[in-house]
Symmetry: C2
């Protein structure tokens, strides 16, 4: 099953590599590739530099399309070409996952209209400005609404990824993966320690 | 303050990007670069591909030298040239940090002789085989002994990095960073949930 991660300059490191750690280790199930609007090297302010293919090069249906957050989203929400491409690929994906302010990018496509979503609790007020039609949940660690999974900030992407595995393969399987990466998993998606003051 | 991360094929994704998330966001304090024995593209089985410089190109003293773990360590513990280079750079670094089975590589240098260290609890028995002279601690989330910090598996690298910030800048500062990345920090380094059955 193919997973595509969309990158853009100034993505948040752990938004990407939390889920990549969880799904990446399941080599018998998932194959992960990194993409960006124009392909090539994508950097962030943490000193990370990743080689990507162009989003146009994605062939076939995706099992999961992952959209991270980070400072870069502040700019990319106005990148109409990228938002259109995210919409097109989200429609062709079995599941769509956002981490942190990645939900702001997905909200801009209109695909979250009338659906539950969350975001980084520290950037929640800003995330909400990207769509009044989304049912923004400021208490969730992560949300699920039909095929859309959205998580709170940074490390919450790990919790959501484990939650996704739990939904697909059972909670014991997800607990086993959490155990393998020695991660203390917040199993309850509705109960975030870092509740938004909004 | 410069941080260098040494990469090798089949490094563990989160071993690297957990600490990179923690230190990377402190752009007023730290600058992170990625290195490998021969430079160029380094890949792992999670589909991650990182561009690195050669370890020989490191100029000047390092504040922190980070050594991740992963399947690749099984092979690299026999790579004498790499172990020698890790030893040389560790000696020139103010602090040395290992995540997961990265401690096996550092143990091979002899620099951990007579010092406390830990490793991934699932690979603990193997890690121990790399040196009988290390005081292996199978209960710690992470250990500190002089300038050497070693953490348990994968996500424990995040706890150790926050612990390092706590040691340098105070626990309130570390808690603030944990809060920013919405991470539930295990503050007690001596108390790992994932205790080794060894």
């Amino acid at each position: 099953m193919n997973i595509a991660v969309v990158l853009f300059d100034d993505f948040e490191t752990l938004d990407v590599f939390g889920p990549v750690e969880v799904f990446g280790r399941l080599t018998d199930k998932y194959s992960i590739k990194f993409y960006s609007q124009h392909g090539g090297e994508i950097k962030n302010r943490h000193g990370v530099s990743i080689i990507t293919e162009r989003l146009d090069e994605i062939n076939g249906d995706l099992e999961i399309f992952i959209i991270p957050g980070g400072y870069g989203t502040r700019k990319e929400v106005y990148n109409i070409m990228l938002i259109d491409k995210i919409k097109e690929l989200s429609l062709c994906s079995k599941f769509v996952m956002t981490v942190c302010t990645g939900s702001a990018l997905l909200a801009r496509t209109g695909l979250l209209d009338g659906k539950q979503a969350t975001s980084n609790k520290r950037a929640f007020a800003w995330a909400k400005t990207n769509s009044e039609k989304v049912i923004w949940d400021n208490k969730a660690r992560w949300t699920t609404d039909e095929k859309y999974y959205t998580s709170s900030g940074v490390s919450a992407g790990i919790d959501m990824s484990l939650g996704f595995l739990s939904d697909r393969f059972g909670i014991e399987f997800a607990r086993q993966v959490a155990d393998e990466i020695e991660y203390i998993w917040t199993e309850d998606k509705d109960n975030d320690t870092f509740t938004a003051q909004v």
